[in-house]
C-alpha cells in the first residue's frame, strides 16, 4: 500500500479548509468556521493515516528524506493549528495558517522530491532519530505558527492605525506569536539541541562538531532567545518582536533546506 494517494486527499481537504476559512470572513461566520474546522479534523485524520502507512511500508521513521520530512512538518503544523484553535481561538489568523499548510503540501506532492523508500545508512539506525527529528519538527511547527502570525501582525499594522477594533485584532496576532514561541522554544531546545547532542555523542563520539547544520540550529535558537529577552526585559512588543520571529523562522528554514543544498557537512543524509 502506498501513502501518496492519502496525502493527496489530505492536500485537497486542506485547500478546502483554507477556502472555507476565508469564506468565514465574508459569509455567515459561524457556519463557515464550523465547516472549516470539521474539514481540518478530517484532513488531519487522513494525513495521519498516510503517515502510518508510510511508516509501516518503509519500516523506519517517517522523516528520513525531504519528502517525508516536509510531510511530517506539515502534519505537525496541522496539529499545532488545531491545538491553538481549540485553546486560544485563532480568529482571522486561521485561513492564513492554512495557506502555509497548502504551500507545504504542494511541496510534498510535487514531483521534485523523490518519494521512494531508501534504506537507512548505519548512522541513522537509532531510536534517537525518532526523538531528535520528531521533537525538532514539532517545535518548528510552533515556530511556523509564530512566523505566520508575525507576518499577519506586520501586514495588519498598516491598516490598524486609529482603529481600536483592528488594533485589538492585531494584538491578538502578537499574542499568538508569543504563545507559539513559548511552546516551540522548549521543544526546539529539547529536540534540536539536547537530543541532537546526545545522538551525536553516540554516533560520532562528539556531541558538538560545529557542523553547519548544528551551527544553523544554534543560530535559529539564538534568534528566539533574542525574541524572548527583548520582549521580556526591553518591552519590545509588536513590530520589532514580529521581525525577530520572522527572521528566526527563516533561519530555521535555512537550517532545514539551505544547509543541505548549499553547505556541506556531516548531516548530509536528508
Amino acid at each position: 500500500m502506498n501513502e501518496f494517494p492519502l496525502l493527496l486527499i489530505s492536500f485537497i481537504i486542506y485547500i478546502l479548509v483554507m477556502l472555507s476559512g476565508f469564506a468565514s470572513s465574508f459569509g455567515s461566520k459561524a457556519k463557515w468556521s464550523r465547516i472549516s474546522y470539521s474539514l481540518a479534523i478530517a484532513g488531519f485524520i487522513v494525513q495521519s493515516a498516510g503517515l502510518l502507512v508510510r511508516t509501516i511500508a518503509s519500516g523506519h521513521a517517517p522523516f528520513t528524506n525531504m519528502y517525508e520530512s516536509i510531510n511530517f512538518l506539515s502534519w505537525s503544523c496541522v496539529l499545532v493549528i488545531i491545538i491553538f484553535q481549540r485553546k486560544f481561538r485563532l480568529e482571522k489568523a486561521w485561513p492564513y495558517l492554512w495557506l502555509l499548510i497548502v504551500a507545504l503540501m504542494a511541496l510534498v506532492s510535487s514531483p521534485l522530491l523523490p518519494k521512494n523508500v531508501t534504506p537507512l545508512v548505519p548512522a541513522l539506525q537509532s531510536y534517537w532519530l525518532w526523538l531528535h527529528v520528531s521533537v525538532t519538527l514539532l517545535g518548528e511547527a510552533f515556530l511556523a505558527v509564530a512566523f505566520v502570525a508575525s507576518i499577519l501582525y506586520l501586514a495588519a499594522g498598516r491598516s490598524s492605525a486609529g482603529n481600536s477594533e483592528a488594533q485589538k485584532k492585531q494584538e491578538n496576532y502578537d499574542l499568538i506569536a508569543y504563545r507559539a514561541v513559548a511552546a516551540g522554544f522548549p521543544l526546539f531546545t529539547l529536540g534540536a539541541l539536547v537530543f541532537g547532542m546526545i545522538w551525536a555523542s553516540q554516533a560520532w563520539g562528539r556531541y558538538w562538531s560545529w557542523d553547519p547544520k548544528e551551527v544553523w540550529s544554534l543560530i535559529t535558537w539564538l534568534f528566539y532567545a533574542l525574541y524572548l529577552h527583548t520582549r521580556l526585559v526591553m518591552g519590545w512588543k509588536g513590530k520589532r518582536s514580529a521581525l525577530i520571529a520572522i527572521i528566526g523562522f527563516l533561519a530555521a528554514l535555512f537550517t532545514f533546506f539551505g544547509v543541505n543544498y548549499l553547505l556541506s557537512g556531516l548531516h548530509s543524509y536528508v
Binding site: R206, V215, L222, T230, G235
Partner: protein
C-alpha cells in the same frame, strides 16, 4: 563594571554578535590550508587569516565573545536572585508594593471578615487551588501571602544555570577531551596509550541491504587486561563500547593496502605460465639467479604533480603493483602492472629477457576504523542540558502567582495580585475564588510587558 557585565543590553549585543560570527563561520569553509583562502577569497584572505576565521569557533575572537557571554549570564542571574528570594518571602509590611486599598465595598468587607474572623474558608479555597498560604501577624496587622507554582519564579535562573554549566562543560571538553584513532585488522591487538588495558578486534563484518548499500558495520572486540578478557562487545555505529572512562566508536572501515596479498601470473623464461602469490615487500626466486621482488602496491594509481606514483584514494579504483626482477643482483625488469589496464603496463626490461608478468588478483585485509574517546566535560554538559530543559518548562508552564492581602484594624484591606504569565486567566481564577471581579475592585497590574496579558 558589574553593572555592565550583568546588563541585559550587553546580553542582546552579545547574542547578535554570536549570531553574526556563527553565520560567518558557516560561510567561510573551516580548517583549510592558508593557500585555499588566498585562492578563493583573495580580497579577504588577509582578514580571515589574521582574525583566524579559518577556524572561527576556536579563534580568540569567538572564545572571548563566548567568555564574555558566560560572565554576562552569570552576573545577570546572580543579580536577579536576591530580589526573587525577597519576593518569595513576601512583604513584611502590610502595604505590599503595588498593592492597592480595596475600593469595592463588598470585597473589602469580605476580605476583612475572612482574615479577621474566619480565615478558614478562604484558606481552604486557596489550598484547594494548590496555593501555598502564609499568614503573618505583627502589631495587630495581618498579612496573607498566597503563592502558587513558586519554582516558576526561578525558571530563568535554572535555564541560565544550565547554560553556564553547558558552556563550562564545553570548555572542559575542548581543552581536555582526547581521541585516538585505531585501525585494526581481525586478530590485531593494540595497547591504548595511558591505559592499563588493550583492545583486540576479534571479527569485523559488514552487512548489506539487498540494493547493495551498507546496512551495518560490526566490530566484535575484546578488552584485555594482562592477557585476560575483561569485556566483549560488538561495537556498531550508534552502539559504542564504554570501558573505564573510554568510549569506543565505530567510525570507518577500509583496506590495509600495505599488507596486500598479490597474485601475479608469470609467462616466459622457458616455463609455462604460472601463478605466484606474494605479500607486498616479499621476494621470490623464480629460478636460480633470477629473483622477483614485489616492491609496492597502490589501490588507486595516479601520477601526482611531481609525476610520482601516488594513490588518488583508498578505494581499489586503479590497482597497480610495482615489480622488479633482478638477475644476479642486476635489475633486468622493472615496472608498474595494472589490474584493469594490463595493456598500459609500463615495464623496462632487458631486450633479451622473455618475461611477461601481469597482475591477476589482489587482496588486502579489511580494517575496522575505531575511535577511542574520553571526554571529561560530557557529564557536565548533560547536567546542564537537563537543567536547561527543566528550567524552560518552569519558565513557560509553571506560572508563578502571588496574592497578598494586608489588613490593619480600622483601615481598608490592601490587596495585590499578579502572575508571571496570563494575567487574564489569573484574574478569572481570582474571580471564581473571591466571587468578585478583582480588576474592578483593585488595580494591581504589575509592569508585565512582554507577557501574555
Amino acid at each position: 563594571m558589574i553593572k555592565f557585565l550583568s546588563s541585559i543590553r550587553l546580553a542582546i549585543v552579545l547574542l547578535i554578535l554570536i549570531i553574526i560570527l556563527s553565520v560567518i563561520g558557516t560561510l567561510i569553509p573551516q580548517g583549510e590550508q592558508p593557500g585555499f583562502y588566498q585562492n578563493y577569497f583573495p580580497r579577504w584572505s588577509g582578514l580571515i587569516l589574521s582574525l583566524q576565521l579559518d577556524h572561527l569557533f576556536r579563534s580568540p575572537l569567538f572564545l572571548s565573545v563566548a567568555f564574555l557571554f558566560l560572565l554576562n549570564i552569570l552576573f545577570c542571574s546572580l543579580r536577579q536572585l536576591p530580589a526573587k528570594f525577597k519576593q518569595l518571602r513576601g512583604p513584611i509590611k502590610f502595604t505590599p508594593t503595588g498593592g492597592q486599598p480595596v475600593r469595592d465595598r463588598k470585597l473589602a468587607s469580605d476580605l476583612s471578615d475572612w482574615l479577621m474572623v474566619s480565615p478558614d474558608s478562604l484558606l481552604r479555597a486557596l489550598r484547594e487551588k494548590h496555593y501555598n498560604v502564609k499568614i503573618k501577624e505583627a502589631n495587630g496587622q495581618k498579612i496573607l501571602i498566597a503563592q502558587k507554582d513558586r519554582s516558576g519564579l526561578f525558571g530563568p535562573e535554572i535555564v541560565h544555570l544550565g547554560l553556564i554549566i553547558i558552556i563550562i562543560g564545553g570548555l572542559i571538553s575542548a581543552l581536555f577531551s582526547q581521541r585516538i584513532e585505531l585501525a585494526l585488522t581481525e586478530g590485531q591487538t593494540v595497547d591504548l596509550p595511558g591505559q592499563s588495558f588493550s583492545l583486540r578486534l576479534d571479527q569485523f563484518t559488514t552487512d548489506y541491504y539487498p540494493d547493495g548499500s551498507v546496512k551495518s558495520w560490526k566490530s566484535m572486540v575484546s578488552i584485555l587486561e594482562k592477557d585476560q578478557v575483561k569485556k566483549q562487545k560488538t561495537v556498531e555505529v550508534n552502539h559504542p563500547l564504554k570501558y573505564d572512562g573510554l568510549n569506543f566508536f565505530q567510525m570507518s572501515y577500509g583496506f590495509d593496502w600495505d599488507r596486500t596479498k598479490v597474485e601475479l601470473e608469470i609467462k616466459g623464461g622457458g616455463s609455462t605460465a604460472r601463478g605466484l602469490t606474494l605479500n607486498v615487500g616479499e621476494k621470490f626466486q623464480l629460478e636460480p639467479g633470477l629473483t622477483l621482488n614485489l616492491l609496492d602496491f597502490i589501490p588507486d594509481f595516479e601520477l601526482d604533480e611531481g609525476s610520482r606514483p601516488a594513490s588518488r584514494s583508498a578505494e581499489a579504483n586503479n590497482p597497480a603493483a610495482l615489480v622488479e626482477v633482478t638477475k644476479d643482483r642486476r635489475p633486468v625488469y622493472l615496472g608498474w602492472l595494472f589490474y584493469y589496464h594490463p595493456e598500459l603496463n609500463q615495464v623496462q626490461r632487458e631486450p633479451d629477457l622473455e618475461l611477461e608478468i601481469s597482475l591477476k588478483k589482489f587482496e588486502a585485509p579489511l580494517f575496522s576504523g575505531l575511535e577511542a574517546a574520553s571526554d571529561p566535560g560530557l557529564n557536565l554538559v548533560w547536567l546542564g542540558c537537563a537543567l536547561l530543559f527543566l528550567g524552560l518548562l518552569a519558565c513557560f508552564y509553571l506560572n508563578y502567582r502571588q496574592i497578598v492581602i494586608g489588613l490593619k484594624p480600622g483601615e481598608k484591606p490592601v490587596f495585590s495580585a499578579h502572575s508571571r504569565h496570563n494575567q487574564t486567566t489569573f484574574y478569572q481564577e481570582l474571580e471564581r475564588l473571591l466571587e468578585v471581579r478583582p480588576d474592578s475592585a483593585i488595580n494591581s497590574d504589575r509592569k508585565n510587558e512582554g507577557k501574555t496579558k
